[in-house]
Symmetry: C2
Subunit: 162 residues, 2 copies
Amino acid sequence: MNATENNTAQVISSEALLAHYQGHRNLTRRTIEAFPEKEFFSHSIGGMRTFAEMVMELLGIAGPGMQEIVSGKTAPLNEHVDHGNSKAKILELWDVATEQINVLWPQIPTARFQENITLFGMYKGTVISSIFYFIDNEIHHRGQGFVYLRSLGVEPPAFYER
Amino acid sequence: MNATENNTAQVISSEALLAHYQGHRNLTRRTIEAFPEKEFFSHSIGGMRTFAEMVMELLGIAGPGMQEIVSGKTAPLNEHVDHGNSKAKILELWDVATEQINVLWPQIPTARFQENITLFGMYKGTVISSIFYFIDNEIHHRGQGFVYLRSLGVEPPAFYER
């Protein structure tokens, strides 16, 4: 390895982080699919939100968050979109966000990941800390969805398959 | 920004990723603390493992995994350590692993994150994909621990506090 290559060595490249994120989003999509239609919108444990409500939070964050990172135009977080209690509609919104992220992501130059931002006009951090929040928050709630599925007697998808 | 700085721009630096990981470990530690002693070792939903068993998996992965990444010496995954059904003992093991990770982490040169490894003699990936697995798997199981806590009427720590 020469000095130039050494200078550009990355802990993780932008492309690899996008693939990692989309792998997680694919697993979350299969988790949504695994839910029985009715229980997706009604099942809850310990007074927590339904998995549908958690997924609406994820949808409110991912696409709009990436849009804001790329455009610099801020908007309040919106966790409520009309879905008519239809899993198919939510999966459709999921796929739109997946494509939106794929289009927006390459528009972030590597140097911008350390830039300070205030996401949704509220959450101070850097571009990378915000993106980690998107990913981690999705993993967190999907883990909760796995417990909901198990409590319904449904086998969740394999965690390590993306 | 001059050309040299531009060359070394990182999506995330090694130091920042360690801080991110330890922030998550701190939140998991507070999640363990939030459990009533008895239910930590006995409570379960839908036939899943107890939170103590999940934490033993996390302990089997984190310290030994980092040790293997740095030393190159492989050993089988061990998820069972004698803890005498004591939360205090598990928190002690947690703190030992936290310190071990802090010592080992700076021994990974940035260029090594893309190196191919077979962790615990079984799991093929790169150093960075393995470390992401450690972090993501911890977030996943901690999210499940949050549901266990809620089902016991206990308020979990705030997800965004690290």
